[in-house]
């Protein structure tokens, strides 16, 4: 039972990052490897606000979200949009460069000591014999609510439907009069906000550090590949599955290869079901 709870908690952390990336990747179709850096910046700003400036936790989380949105929008407007008509290799290299540049700048600003954001509730709840802290359960619930809200937004609002059209065919959407630049930027803002929220919440249970982004974005890409591109619920479910695979793998196989299980699982899924677990045609939401 503890393995199940551990897996769901860790999976929710992965899911919160993957859901935002799924939106960005689905709508704008750029390899936004720096999405993990939005998670890091969200966590770092929240940490500094709460630990160093004594601000309340909720204010710190809010500032973390704002910082992540600013970073995401800046990346879209200053890098991906100007490069939109260039060769895909250019995009790829620039996206990878950000993964090196942003942590280096963050290191200069914040240093690299891994720190946990203080003043979060530290109660422990027992469920069917398994234990979890209050903040871990908050993360599970927030991830579920945020995913449901994003799905509802994409399905039921005008701007959400415009993003859906862009995800299906950006050129055709532009021909239909949809301002694709505006909605691409909005997709970056929403996806980055989720990343910032994820970073700030994650920072209350695990330490925030400047090099945390790369691992998270790698797992996010694994999730959206095996879950199926474009599916927001698929990204959420994929996150949970990845968390469970790592949790049970570490408990019943070996804790030495926790990260390896993600890649093994990805390979198996791609061999058995190349279109992903939650196939695009049926579940694009």
């Amino acid at each position: 039972m503890q393995e199940l709870v551990n897996g769901i908690i860790q999976g929710s952390v992965f899911a919160l990052a993957a859901v935002g990336l799924s939106l960005i990747f689905g709508v704008v179709r750029v390899p936004h490897f720096a999405h993990g850096e939005s998670v890091m910046v969200g966590g770092m700003v929240a940490l500094v606000a709460v630990a160093d400036h004594g601000l309340p936790l909720l204010v710190g989380i809010g500032l973390g979200i704002v910082a992540a949105v600013l970073l995401g929008v800046a990346v879209q407007l200053l890098l991906f949009y100007p490069l939109r008509n260039r060769d895909e290799t250019n995009l790829l290299i620039c996206a990878l460069a950000l993964v090196l540049i942003i942590p280096a700048v963050a290191y200069k600003i914040w240093g690299e000591s891994p720190r946990i954001i203080p003043n979060a509730p530290d109660g422990v709840i027992t469920l069917f014999g398994a234990r979890a802290t209050t903040m871990k359960l908050v993360i599970v619930v927030v991830t579920l609510v945020a995913t449901a809200a994003l799905v509802a937004y994409v399905a039921r609002t005008r701007s959400g439907r415009a993003m859906k059209a862009m995800a299906l065919n950006s050129y055709a959407a532009q021909l239909m009069g949809i301002p694709t630049r505006r909605y691409a930027t909005l997709a970056f803002a929403i996806g980055s906000a989720l990343a910032g929220l994820g970073g700030a919440l994650l920072g209350t249970i695990q330490p925030v550090q400047v090099d945390m982004g790369a691992t998270l974005v790698l797992k996010s890409f694994i999730i959206i590949i095996f879950a199926g591109l474009g599916s927001i619920w698929g990204a959420w479910a994929g996150g949970l599955i990845l968390g469970l695979v790592e949790s049970y793998g570490a408990s019943y196989l070996s804790s030495s290869y926790v990260s390896t299980y993600s890649f093994l699982f990805l390979l198996v899924v791609l061999l058995v079901r190349p279109q992903g677990l939650f196939s695009l045609a049926k579940t694009r939401d």
């Binding site: 503890q2 393995e3 551990n6 908690i9 860790q10 290191y107 690299e112 000591s113 891994p114 720190r115 946990i116 203080p118 530290d122 422990v124 234990r131 802290t133 695990q206 330490p207 550090q209 945390m212 790592e246 949790s247 793998g249 570490a250 408990s251 804790s255 030495s256 926790v258």
Partner: protein, 411 residues
């Protein structure tokens, strides 16, 4: 002329010029010691973990080395054969990474240093050891890395504990406290502890202690719930954790969150910083940390109390923070090397300096702030390795830090 060839020709010319300048520069600094307009200096390489996962230990260690050098230079240097020498440190960051460590050591050697101080990580040491271990014209004085079996090499001296001492002290504590079953977790990237695990397990077996589980984590990991769930499943009487303190502070916190209330025996050197960074103060009840003593632990020592107090005050005045886990050994290592230069009467004849190190007694060294237990002949080193007291440390909620509870000798 083809412009491309012209550019290529200029490029070759430029590279040749740079190579020539480098060659000339290299020729002018082929040895560690030198004299010139600025006086006599000895260049000492300094391998430091200023960044990366080991930096919480590495930065205070590097600070202590810098402090020792600054004090020696400020006092007018040290005396070798009637001449005063000062020290020029060549500090290189190994980034807590073995590959970067090898590059850094090569750079130090290319820069002309015959002596090396520092090194926190056993993994980094293991990576660069093949380059220097048989070099009779090079000496490295380890200040932190505790991997077993390295001081059998001609170029390696260690005024610092080995992991065997950690193992023996921990086994002694387990025996004294009649512990019968234990779960172990080890940092899989800590080469020294990984190599030491079979010895530790054999020691536990000889005491009749059952090992419920033996898990691992990777340096810098943040979530340990899977490993801990396995470790505490059998409700072990004690949980043993071996690795770097930042990781271990987080593991202890998560172990308590998962409901483990038993004894935790760490071998790491926890300090207030790591505990605060992990927000783990409430989790430190019933935790003991069995390690080499810090200077804070030695304040009550008859032999080293005064030196420890002076060092603590100087460190705090310069860095506005208390010394770290390996700071004392780092500070001592520079002073030991200087004492060897003075005893040998040379900074350039490495063989003589090595002989002097072999004959060094604690009383020869000014600024020795570690709990060195001299050999039966009264020497600091036995086969290049010094021996130390070990300390059992417990958490003091009033200071938010660990402090000495008892000492273990004869390990």
């Amino acid at each position: 002329m083809n412009p491309a060839r012209l550019r290529s020709g200029r490029g070759v010319l430029a590279v040749s010029a740079i190579a020539a300048v480098s060659l000339v520069a290299g020729c002018s600094s082929s040895g560690s010691g030198s004299s010139g307009g600025g006086g006599n200096t000895v260049k000492i390489g300094h391998l430091a973990e200023l960044t990366g996962a080991g930096s919480s230990v590495g930065i205070p260690q590097a600070n202590a080395i810098e402090l020792a050098v600054d004090q020696i230079n400020a006092a007018g240097g040290f005396d070798v054969g009637g001449k005063k020498y000062s020290i020029k440190l060549d500090t290189q960051d190994d980034k807590s990474d073995p590959t970067a460590g090898v590059t850094a050591v090569q750079k130090i050697r290319t820069g002309g240093s015959k002596y090396l101080v520092g090194t926190v990580s056993s993994a980094v040491l293991g990576a660069y050891l093949p380059i220097i271990k048989t070099d009779q014209n090079f000496i490295t004085v380890l200040a932190g890395a505790a991997a077993v079996g390295v001081t059998g090499n001609i170029s390696v001296y260690r005024p610092r504990v080995t992991l065997t001492q950690y193992t023996n002290a921990t086994l002694s504590y387990i025996k004294t406290n009649s512990i019968t079953n234990i779960a172990m977790m080890t940092d899989s990237q800590h080469a020294g502890y990984v190599a030491e695990t079979p010895t530790f397990k054999a020691g536990l077996q000889s005491l009749g202690v059952k090992v419920d589980s033996a898990g691992s984590w990777k340096l810098g990991d943040t979530d340990f719930s899977a490993q801990l769930t396995t470790a505490i499943k059998g409700n072990p009487q004690a949980l043993n954790l071996r690795g770097f303190p930042a990781d271990i502070a987080r593991i202890i916190k998560q172990a308590r969150e998962l409901g483990y209330k038993g004894l935790i025996i760490a071998n790491t050197g926890l300090s207030k910083k790591e505990i605060t960074d992990a927000q783990a103060g409430n989790a430190m009840t019933n935790v003991v940390d069995i390690v080499a003593p810090t200077t804070a632990d030695l304040l009550t020592s008859t032999a080293y109390g005064a030196a420890a107090k002076t060092f603590n005050e100087a460190y705090k005045a310069k860095y506005n923070a208390p010394p770290g886990f390996t700071s004392a050994s780092a500070y001592s290592s520079v002073n030991i090397l200087v004492a060897a230069f003075e005893k040998a009467g040379t900074v350039t004849d490495v063989a003589k300096v090595r002989d002097a190190l072999d004959q060094l007694k604690p009383s020869d060294v000014q600024g020795l702030v570690d709990s060195v237990q001299p050999s039966s002949s009264g020497l600091i080193f036995t086969n290049h390795q010094a021996q130390y007291q070990m300390v059992v440390r417990t958490y003091d909620p009033s200071t938010g830090d660990f402090a000495a509870k008892s000492f273990i000798t004869g390990t």
